[in-house]
Symmetry: C2
Subunit: 436 residues, 2 copies
């Protein structure tokens, strides 16, 4: 069987990973979801002409010639805190005390800041008059309505992740609710009779189940809602019963099943045995990627969940998740463009490694910035072996070495000083173990 190029497998995945239905939510409930529609400005920002300073709202003509030598006394006719609905009239020779953010009275065109008057104590009771000691420019300290955004201006594009800052911005342009895509619901099924709950004493042949934690965490970090985590022994019948149970959960049924292990040809490969039939909807392929060659992907029925069958060793699962599952979850969440599948940047190799030849290599890596640019090293001291679960704690990105670029030195190795493509995951760099 010839190997499927990584890009072809990803294209198959993304063709099935449409954005989920939209719904309208109050802004606070939309945090963490993605906009399904562009948002335009409904309320100008700021909505009213208002004062940028604590001071006095005046008619500019009254104070145009004010100076310490020729102070101008005005009669104070009102006091305006921020939020006041009042619009006091201001006649010639009159002023209104006004606080920062308060709406400018219709009759005023200029603010004189407190410090340029004889009433510069903001805590003093309102006086009957104020003396202006310096002439302001016309319009000084007035923030104009619509200065930042006018009604109809674009405010945010569909696909935008609703962070706190985005929600605040949308609030400021008049949005109370927004249309967002549903977040994908994910079930994680780790297969393998050898797996036991973490921390359990191991009898001969057993190993701790790390894939459940890995895939649950990665799915949540990709913005998904993990609704079930199950450990399944090497029994295809039991696997199928669990999947049927998950599919029967109505509006809590998962959109995506992420299975780990059991995808190879073998006597004890429950995913392959459960879904290997030609009409299952799931296709088992060998992808030109190292690690992560065996991959299963498809949809159960015409409107059932997507199924990802990832190889069982944790580093292969990690790589497969980042290359195939994460883009799907992001696309289903409504992400667009680079947010679905990040464009690689480049980094200088600090410690070299061996490449597999014939397959694109995806290598979990530690990436850090130096003044002259980013550096990269494999997280596994033992090179690119794929079973090093413990090394994943140190990865904040991965190197991409296409098959065609693996032998530039004639020894099948990437060398220190080489420049390679890297995808950075926006993860905090964990404290190095060897720095203690």
């Amino acid at each position: 069987m010839s190997l499927v190029p990584v890009a072809d497998q990803l294209a198959r995945v993304l063709a099935e990973a449409s954005a989920l239905p939209e719904r309208s939510l109050p802004l606070a409930a939309a945090l963490g979801a993605r906009l399904s529609r562009d948002v335009t400005t409904a309320t100008a920002v700021p909505p009213w002409d208002n004062s940028a300073m604590d001071g006095y709202a005046v008619r500019h003509e009254d104070v145009a010639d004010a100076s310490p030598e020729h102070p101008v006394r005005l009669r104070v006719v009102a006091d305006l805190p921020a939020g006041s609905p009042d619009d006091p009239r201001i006649g010639p020779g009159e002023a209104v005390r006004i606080m920062t953010g308060a709406t400018l009275p219709s009759d005023a065109d200029t603010i004189v800041q407190l410090e340029h008057t004889d009433r510069d104590d903001p805590l003093a009771p309102l006086a009957a008059d104020v003396t202006v000691l310096r002439a302001p420019r016309r319009g000084e300290h007035v923030r104009r309505a619509g200065e930042d955004r006018q009604v109809g201006d674009p405010a945010a594009s569909a696909g935008t992740l609703v962070t706190g800052a985005v929600a605040a911005a949308l609030s400021s342009v008049g949005a109370g609710t927004v249309w967002v895509h549903e977040r994908p619901r994910v079930a994680v099924l780790a297969t393998g009779s050898e797996l036991v709950t973490p921390g359990t004493p191991l009898r001969r042949g057993q190993i701790p189940d790390s894939n459940s934690l890995l895939l649950r965490g990665l799915a949540e970090e990709a913005g998904a809602d993990v609704v079930a985590v199950e450990h399944v022994p090497d029994d295809p019948g039991q696997l199928l019963r669990i999947v049927e149970d998950l599919r029967s959960r109505g509006d809590r049924a998962p959109h995506v099943l992420v299975l780990a292990g059991g995808v190879s040809q073998g006597a004890y490969e429950p995913v392959k045995q459960a879904f290997g039939a030609a009409d299952s909807g799931v296709l088992f392929t060998k992808v030109a990627m190292q690690p992560g060659k065996p991959q299963a992907f498809g949809r159960l029925g015409s409107d059932g969940p997507l199924v990802f069958g990832l190889p069982g060793n944790p580093v292969s699962a990690w790589v497969s998740f980042h290359v195939f599952v994460r883009p799907a979850l992001l696309a289903m969440s409504g992400a667009r463009g680079d947010a679905v599948n990040p464009a690689p940047t480049q980094a200088l190799v600090e410690i070299g490694w061996r490449t597999p030849g014939g397959r694109d290599q995806v290598l979990p890596a530690r990436v850090w910035d130096l003044p002259d640019g980013p550096r990269l090293a494999p997280v596994a001291a033992l090179g690119s072996k794929s079973h090093l679960a413990a090394s994943l704690a140190g990865a904040n990105g991965y190197a991409l070495v296409p098959a065609g670029q693996q032998d530039r030195h004639g020894d099948g190795r990437v060398h220190p000083g080489d420049v390679v493509d890297v995808v950075r995951l926006g993860l905090e760099l964990p404290p190095a173990l060897d720095q203690r």
Copy 2:
């Protein structure tokens, strides 16, 4: 009153922001928290010598001379799936069929992969014999116990954020539960009688409350648990009652109160009025930062919550949060080093801006990577004005321009082509509005 340097204010904050108490949690429940203790390897990785391939476990001496011309026939005495507790004896001239991951029998030292035998169908029933067609190296396809980590090896350092990958790594070294710091509980109190719930029609003088959403989201993005969000009118008595109610909530009481607005000298400044007394525990300062000059910080009582009083305009609140509140939340969560207060990197300025002079400038910015290095532009088309809430949606970092570096061109401006310090927030770059 002289201005307090930013570094001095931050040092005051961090002196109060000790890591919260630790507790022991199962790994799955620890996701998102930070380790309070170093973790060492309790179980070797891998825990057992095991097979890296589907194949036959053999005694190397039996097959050292095997070749297509001189095949070696062995008697098959057992079948070992992954997870089997069995340790079948293997005598001279015998072999055991073994699946990937299964523990190596004590009598075997080498794996012959299926493809190098005459029994290369992994789904075939177990046969009574197998013929080896190629000689393996001694130890071939055997993963040695402890090859990745040996018992006692360091696995993760205190301060590490428990991501999915970290949890998986800790599971693989034998951890079932881990000691983590509590996550800080935060209450957000947005003050201002002019503020109304987002989406509400505005009467004259009102504006939408964006700070509640902003600070709630930013606190959650910093890993905190937001336990209350309240909007408080300009009434110091009501503010104090809300704070007392929050403090009375026992083990759900917030560790941190983040207040926005009302920190200036003025007639309607409820935070200043509620906490301005010398014995309140809260100190009101003017920090040499633009925006965000007025700052209040302190602790209510000897064991009460930390209080941050941030300026009320959203961009000032955003800047103040990143410079002071976020480092405190991270330190309380147990983060260490650069994870508390990220070291800036550098970027080339694409669009210039005006600097304030005399104060360190913190400018919300859009940062993106080009092949020759990162670029930066202010998110507010109007420059560094501090009231542009709507612009925050586009910020994925901020520029830092110290007071002493603001006039290198003699015009008080940062110019295109200048190199400035930048803190990148690990946020996805939102789709640009002008690209549609």
